[in-house]
Amino acid sequence: MSSKEYRNKPLYIISSLVENKPGVLFRITNLFRARNFNIESITVGITEKPDLSRMTITTRIDESILDQLVKQLRKLIDIVEVEVLDVNNTVYRELALIKIRAKDFTNRNEIINFANVFRANILDIGKESVTVEVIGTPDKIDAFKNLIIQYDIVEMARTGVSALQRGE
């Protein structure tokens, strides 16, 4: 599959509650590998219950395969709950840290202006670079990235998506 074909597949956010113990992440990622699914991003963190973690996985796959993926995940004994979030009814955010090359004053100012438009924070300014923190949906982060790519990105770190269904 070409990378273009891959990018054109719909993005799904899968949210799961899993046992908070060693080896669980391994079992889940191994399932993706063994069944030929791809992980776009994965985030894990504790929840309000100390023995459960929330794992949020984003993946690009054909809708016809989504059902199979969810059923295979549900079969894993360490997974207590799995659901595919409806993007329209979900709050989801990602955080990105981007270090951008900025050699002179004009560059720096331009980047700071862009950052303001995106409500991104400037975390650090050095002689040769500016480090920006952007929070938002993956699309928003992509948009910001595409804008500042002209200045040369020195380094970027993205957290992957965290998500919760709206309402109760």
Partner: protein, 613 residues
């Protein structure tokens, strides 16, 4: 039982209170030392009270296995499971020493397939554990309940590349239903109870329990839970009634219904239910190869297995059906050929206990998730209310007869006095119907599928999903342990038997006699057939060169061996083997070039079947 001492005023408290106030010695994960018991209540001699059971992790393991009703375990010891072997000396169940751990897993698997409850195998860490893997993967591919218990290096050595350390949990992950590594002796009873529950319920499968040596040795107070809960695991047993109702309607309204019975029927033991349903709706019954023997193959509705090497009439009739009821079958490529072609234009009803099987290979019209037995019972009940009035001379069943007649006349036998087909017909003639039959892998296996009718349901099994050469013989020994009163036969190929023939020692020494019915073509015959068909007879790596001499091999282990070169000799050898109840190898010389037909080439559909006629 430990004797703990308490001061008088504490003793007055109820037992339960004392019980719950006792703290377990804490194990330090880093230094691996037991800290002293930090408990104000335990001191001073005043009165002796017998309280909880203090025992080692290994002893707790034995008692847990006993509580699960384990009668027999198959294994081989080593450094990392010595404490388990020490506890085995006093265990109430039998231990069978194997000559290779792979065979221990196959034996436990064979035992499980006949008992329909989990079989247990043991191995040490590192190479012992990795030797089990082929057996575990075999059980996984065929949904067989297996408990594999491995020793592991002590907790404080894990991750240090210790001697005979293998991350067996990591290795086994893709081929186990679950894997545990108890880190405290107190966890063992719960882990074992969970293991059996997971292995045997829902869609069965193997579970690995990897126990570090120090956990086996740790002596502490052990409690045995009566109830366990696995919150992330909820197997569905009873099907959704409205779906069953819809399926029944669809069956009633169809003209040419067919039942495709798979391994799930055997796993569920739903033989009488399947037969009742088939007779009610008067539908021909085909099976997958794994489902062979789910339905008596001499029944007037039986058609035998479909698939790559299915019966010709079965492969043909399923193309003509208008409604397929797939029961406990997972639409494997070997049974249905091309997924896109199979069942085109027909209604498919899929009954399976594993929701993930629904729509995995084949999208279906009606899906019923649940246990075969429970679902078929409900269907039979719904149908018995006088809704069907099909007769045994319907055009559909006449078509069945026509196809059987046509193919029986048009498929020629290989022109030799002694062929695999004739040998298997002879075996069927002489073998009591309740005997258990298993196979190795290759042509020998497919000939069995084609030419050996299983009459008593549930008396046949084989390594089908993984196709593990060397499975049949040890598995037959396990089956003999599960049902000692009937003859057990492994229909073998020379190449496969080579792989685990050292289990002859087990068969002889443990008094678990089985018959190895060796269809000896002096070839890795199935591979040779593919090289003949697809690679222009460019043979490579298939000749066995008459090595070894199987009669001598048998005799070397104290078993009987017969070399058979005619039908007459075969007759005598089978009768003798059945009479003597001593492990027997019947080495039957057959032609190296005999092919298995029919054949549906990989990547083609059932309609492209080559009959070889």
């Amino acid at each position: 039982m430990s004797t703990l001492t308490f001061t008088k005023h504490i003793w007055k408290k109820s037992f339960l209170q004392i019980h719950s106030s006792l703290k377990r010695p804490k194990l330090n994960y880093h230094t691996n030392e037991c800290q002293s018991i930090d408990n104000e209540y335990i001191y001073e001699v005043s009165m002796n009270i017998r309280t909880m059971s203090e025992m080692s992790g290994s002893k707790a393991l034995m008692q847990s296995l006993e509580k699960e009703g384990v009668e027999i375990v198959f294994g081989l010891p080593g450094g990392a499971n010595l404490p388990i072997y020490d506890a085995l000396v006093d265990a109430k169940f039998r231990h069978v020493l194997v000559r290779h751990e792979q065979s221990a897993a196959h034996m436990a698997d064979g035992y499980a397939r006949i008992k329909r409850k989990a079989g247990v195998c043991l191995a040490t860490s590192g190479p012992g554990a990795t030797n089990l893997i082929t057996g575990i993967a075999t059980a996984y591919a065929d949904s067989s309940p297996l408990i594999a218990i491995t020793g592991q290096v002590p907790l404080n050595m894990i991750g240090k590349d210790a001697f005979q350390e293998t991350d067996i949990i990591g290795v086994a992950n893709p081929c186990t239903k679950y894997a545990f590594q108890p880190r405290l002796a107190t966890e063992i009873p719960e882990v074992i109870k969970k293991s059996f529950y997971i292995a045997e319920s829902g869609r069965p499968g193997p579970v690995l329990v990897d126990i570090p040596k120090d956990v086996q040795q740790e002596v502490t107070d052990i409690q045995f839970p009566d109830l366990i809960k696995v919150r992330g695991y909820k197997p569905i047993v009873d099907p959704d009634l409205s779906n069953v109702g819809k399926a029944v309607e669809l069956i009633i309204s169809s003209q040419r219904p067919i039942i495709m019975a798979g391994g799930g029927v055997i796993l569920s033991g739903a033989f009488s239910e399947l037969q009742a349903l088939a007779e009610l709706i008067m539908a021909p019954v085909v099976t997958t190869f794994k489902g062979k023997g789910a339905f008596p193959e001499n029944h007037p509705l039986a058609m035998g297995p479909i698939g790559m090497h299915g019966h010709a009439e079965a492969n043909r009739i399923i193309l003509e059906a208008d409604c397929i009821l797939a029961v406990g079958a997972r639409f494997s490529d070997r049974s249905v050929g091309r997924f896109d072609e199979f069942g085109k234009g027909m209604n498919i009803i899929h009954l399976d206990i594993d929701p993930a099987e629904i729509g995995k290979n084949k999208s279906v019209d009606i899906a019923i998730v649940g246990d075969v037995k429970s679902a078929l019972r409900t269907m039979v009940k719904m149908l018995s209310k006088g809704r069907t009035n099909r007769s045994s001379d319907s055009p559909w069943l006449q078509r069945r007869k026509e196809l059987i007649d046509y193919f029986s006349q048009n498929i020629k036998d290989y022109p030799r006095e002694l062929t695999a087909r004739k040998a298997l017909k002879k075996l069927r003639e002489l073998l009591p119907v309740d005997s258990i039959v298993t196979t190795e892998v290759g042509q020998c296996q497919m000939w069995t599928s084609l030419h050996f009718d299983v009459i008593s349901p549930g008396t046949f099994f084989s390594s089908t999903g993984l196709g593990t050469m060397g499975f049949g013989f040890p598995a037959s020994i396990g089956a003999k342990a599960a049902r000692p009163n009937v003859p057990v036969v492994d229909i073998a190929g020379d190449g496969s038997f080579n792989m685990t023939e050292n289990s002859l020692a087990v068969s002889v020494l443990e008094n678990l006699p089985v018959i190895v019915f060796l269809l000896n073509n002096d070839m890795l015959g199935m591979v040779a057939q593919w090289q003949r068909t697809f690679y222009d007879r460019r043979y490579m790596g298939v000749h066995q060169k008459r090595c070894p001499d199987y009669v001598k091999i048998a005799e070397a282990y104290g078993a009987n061996g017969f070399k058979v070169q005619s039908m007459d000799e075969l007759d005598k050898a089978i009768k003798s083997a059945l009479r003597t109840e001593v492990a027997t190898v019947i080495d039957i010389t057959i032609d190296p070039e005999e092919d298995v037909y029919p054949f549906v080439a990989p990547g083609t559909g059932l309609k492209d079947m080559i009959t070889g006629a």
